[in-house]
């Protein structure tokens, strides 16, 4: 099976701007699992794993907030963990699992 497990490559960080409004991509389905969730992109057929329930909530509520930063705050992600969450979201943006809202 293919996976886009994180930590593969560190590419252009400009690709993900947490100040912008984001959402789960429209062709992406999310399946809750005991450890978090699977996300699957029906277009590029990539499978990713969300490794915490908080990250699942973040991805699911991105669309309700004016920015990714605001989503992280609303989901109660502690300041110290913000960089890790931003990296996880950047990974998801790179594999097109989340997209900028127009």
């Amino acid at each position: 099976m293919t996976s886009t497990a994180p930590a593969a490559d560190v590419s252009d960080p400009a690709a993900f701007d947490p100040a912008l409004p984001w959402r789960r991509a429209r062709s992406v389905a999310l399946r809750p699992e005991p450890f978090g969730a699977l996300v699957y992109h029906f277009g590029n057929r990539k499978l990713s794993f969300l490794k915490s329930k908080t990250l699942v909530t973040v991805v699911e509520t991105l669309a309700d907030h004016p920015s990714a930063d605001a989503t992280l705050a609303a989901c109660g992600v502690p300041e110290a963990q913000r960089p890790a969450y931003v990296r996880a979201l950047a990974d998801l943006a790179r594999s097109q699992m989340i997209e900028v809202r127009a």
């Binding site: 099976m1 497990a5 389905a29 399946r31 450890f35 699957y40 029906f42 499978l47 794993f49 490794k51």
Partner: protein
């Protein structure tokens, strides 16, 4: 269901940690579900993992197959790997393909190419969410046809031509790595590049008729070492179904999930709806239930005793004391089982050599387990593979054998 795995305490899932550790405890729905639609096949490959050939009269009907797809959609199984037998010989194959895609279940199907004419290739090229894998077990007709049958290389390459011509993207050439083709990996790459396809190579297991030719066809230790080096050099450009994780015990882990996924992230639905822990484990001991039963597939996946049992990490057995256990996790369950080795011991192809000694230490009178199912063709098949020699037909009359048959002298 009798216990298959010794030394397994009741599982309690940890929180956080590596995905591979999470996967050992299983998922709410499989990631990688193989669904064999029929045991019928036009070929008679010597190493067929499901001993296919003849259709089973109890095969799921079209309506039952649609019911399974509805259930997969509810469970959010994002895609299925469809195989057989030769799935495209089912008259409702193309209908079921459309039905699955229409219900958010993507389809990757494996075929020998027999039905992929220009029209079908064009149809597939115009369909989203479908992936095609053409099976080929030699980069030349000579190597391929010995195991898959005379003419099968020509059939497969014609299908590849049709797909390429139709503008199909991302289709695959699927190769089972054997002693006879392992030296052709670069040739396979060149062949797939020629059609704009992608190469997928998987491990040969002693399942189905594969058990009959395993001694003859499984790669030697030296070949495994070469294969490992090749995968490290080319792994990012070749798909493997993560099936070579036993090679990770050489040192560096291979890309992907290095874990036996049977009943945890993987399972098989066979043509009659029986659910097995893995496509390579068609044996009563790994039969978890049937999709026709109450509660359907979901109940089997989530609640069968067998799958519960498989979803706990191995804590005992010879392998857990090996320095490489974390790399290979003891290897392939099916490979051990069908070679008569204990499931908590080494893989028969253990790269540290423990498999060879375990095989040598088997009882002389040990009878290796056989599947209760065999749908192999009973009569001769056109273009029969020649690996095992030419098929011998019994003489119709005694004098066909000898002109002196039955002659009484004196």
């Amino acid at each position: 269901m009798t216990a298959v795995l010794p030394n397994r305490p009741a599982p309690e899932r940890p929180t956080g940690g590596r995905l591979v550790d999470q996967f050992e405890y299983g998922l709410d729905a499989p990631i990688c579900l193989t669904w064999e639609l029929t045991y019928a096949c036009n070929l008679a490959c010597v190493h067929c993992l499901s001993s296919s050939g003849r259709r089973d009269p109890r095969e799921l009907t079209t309506a039952e197959a649609e019911g399974v797809i509805d259930e997969l959609q509810r469970m959010q199984v994002f895609y299925v790997n469809v195989g057989g037998g030769e799935p495209t010989v089912r008259p409702d194959f193309w209908h079921l393909l459309d039905y699955a895609i229409g219900h958010d279940v993507g389809v990757k199907f494996s075929t020998n190419g027999v039905k992929l004419d220009r029209a079908r290739a064009a149809q597939l090229a115009a369909t989203d969410y479908v992936d095609v894998q053409i099976s080929l077990d030699g980069a030349t007709a000579e190597v391929n046809d010995r195991v898959r049958g005379t003419g099968s290389f020509a059939t497969a390459t014609r299908a590849l031509e049709n797909l390429a011509e139709a503008g199909m993207k991302d289709f695959k050439v699927s190769v089972v790595v054997t002693r006879e083709n392992v030296s052709q990996l670069d040739d396979f790459r060149a062949l797939t590049d020629r059609y704009g396809a992608q190469l997928r190579i998987t491990r040969f297991r002693p399942s189905g008729r594969g058990a009959d030719v395993w001694d003859q066809l499984h790669p030697t230790q030296a070949q495994q070492r070469e294969l490992y080096a090749w995968l490290l050099a080319n792994g990012d450009r070749v798909l493997t179904g993560d099936s070579f994780f036993h090679l990770s015990a050489y040192g560096q882990a291979l890309p992907g999930l290095n874990l036996c996924g049977a009943g945890r992230v993987v399972c098989l639905i066979d043509p009659v709806g029986d659910v097995y822990a893995c496509p390579f484990a068609i044996h009563e001991q790994f039969l978890a239930g049937n999709v026709r039963g109450e509660g359907g597939f979901q109940r089997v996946w989530q609640h069968s005793d067998l799958f519960q049992e498989l979803r706990s990490p191995q804590t005992g057995g010879a392998c857990t004391r090996c320095a490489h256990f974390d790399a290979c996790r003891g290897g392939c369950m099916a490979a051990k089982f069908f070679t008569g080795l204990p499931l908590d011991g080494p893989d028969p192809e253990c790269v540290q050599g423990y498999g060879e000694s375990a095989l040598a230490a088997r009882d002389a009178d040990l009878v290796t387990p056989r599947s209760h199912l065999d749908h192999s063709h009973t009569g001769p098949v056109r273009g029969q593979p020649t690996l095992l020699g030419m098929p011998s037909l019994p003489p119709a009359k005694a004098c066909d054998e000898s002109p002196l048959a039955g002659l009484q002298l004196g």
